[in-house]
Symmetry: C2
Subunit: 255 residues, 2 copies
């Protein structure tokens, strides 16, 4: 299935699952839509925290992409959306047409799913992909640089990697600086404020087997955590793991 | 010595050495100045190759910085400059005032010297710093993404790291995505087109001892290599290893 075909199925309501492992070799994106008055501040905040919030496209007018896909509709072509009011998740939906106003500005943000094909091709199979589960994601105590009233802590995704492949995992993912790049931590979840590795804050629990090390990458769910803590009056985001699948190949973002 | 004091010495012609190890904890920058007609193309090229050419400040008017230091003068406050005509290095100077015209646009580009303090503080001593030498830099066969007529291969810096610390080196430097981030390669120089590790193309040869692995980071000398290959009519750059030392702390760029 091409990304365009997958997005067509999503728009028709025929695919509302996590997108990890779908359309291998194509990059996937996090989405955040904010009222215009917050857009400039968020853009500056993202710039100061580019490892957690790498912005690849901003839609200041309308809801159709230009860079990452040829006029994909962000109102319907993401499998699941979260609606947040005053920082509270009030609804999870598959179509945000009823919520759209021209006052919304859309941000598309790099996602670590984009480098998973490269990890797999370099001899690092991924358990959540093999098991068709969502990746495990956690809130942390890693403080972001505060800008323009935006502040909070980083959310991370976790992948167990064989001990002898850890340096390889850092290298391979470091080649994708616009998709979070290399991990921010490996080994001890408690160091970054994760209390119980078996209970992720988002996504599915993923087993860590003997001889494996948990690696933690910055995650594009970070803005949702920030918006929640800030109690922003209104925001729409993708639902964790349910990404915008683009027409752009991961090789275009390999640096 | 504060960065401001060091830059004052440089401006007076009292310091014309490599800046590795100077003003620990402050970030250092590569510099490229181009005629205005090439500036937009170079900016797009840098964006597509952000790991090798992370642009942190552009001076479209004049020659005084605003973001990285409070009105430092780029004509005199860098220890050494290269003057390139038709891609050929015609002169190395300590003051570019005679070459300045308002047609020049200045780019300041992240430099791996900026994360060296973090490596040292995390138990990875650096031989070139200990020996007060320049870092070893090499041309490679790693192709950059061509944009707007700009194309060429990446230049890398090399640091030997103890085998058991390799993953740590990837992690620590990955926290500085705007200073090239994690290495692009480790272990085998020939894989990235380096023929003789004992003969760097820029800087000083640095010994690799038993039990150490050579790690290769993208280097801000990359644009010089590109400009040389393109035979650009005119350009001014810093001389490799002789960086612009800023007033900004490395902790501000830790992500």
């Amino acid at each position: 299935m091409t990304p365009k075909e997958l997005r067509a199925k999503i728009a028709k309501g025929e695919f509302a699952r996590p997108t990890a492992g779908e359309c291998p070799g194509y990059i996937q994106m996090n989405m955040v839509a904010l009222p215009r008055q917050y857009a400039e501040g968020f853009e500056a905040f993202a710039k100061a925290n580019s490892k957690a919030i790498p912005v690849l496209e901003i839609l200041k007018e309308g809801h159709h992409t230009e860079i990452l896909a040829d006029r994909a509709d962000l109102l319907t072509e993401i499998p699941k959306y979260n609606i947040l009011r005053e920082g509270v998740l009030v609804e999870t939906v598959t179509d945000i047409t009823p919520y759209y106003t021209p006052d919304l500005v859309f941000f598309l943000i790099g996602c670590s799913f984009s480098f998973e094909t490269a990890l797999i091709e370099n001899g690092m199979p991924l358990r959540h992909v093999d098991m068709q589960k969502n990746v495990a994601m956690y809130n942390t105590n890693v403080r972001l640089t505060p800008v323009a009233g935006f502040e909070g802590e980083m959310v991370v995704s976790m992948r167990p990697i064989k001990r002898e492949k850890v340096a390889d995992a850092y290298e391979v993912t470091g080649h994708f600086p616009q998709m979070h790049g290399s991990p921010i931590h490996s080994g001890t979840p408690e160091t970054i404020g994760i209390g119980d590795i078996d209970r992720p804050d988002y996504g599915d629990p993923i087993e860590i087997k003997e001889g494996e090390v948990p690696l933690f990458w910055p995650c594009g769910v970070t803005p949702q955590n920030v918006i929640t803590k800030m109690k922003l009056p209104f925001a729409i985001t993708h639902a964790p793991g349910h990404m915008f699948v683009t027409d752009r190949k991961d090789s275009e973002y390999y640096e």
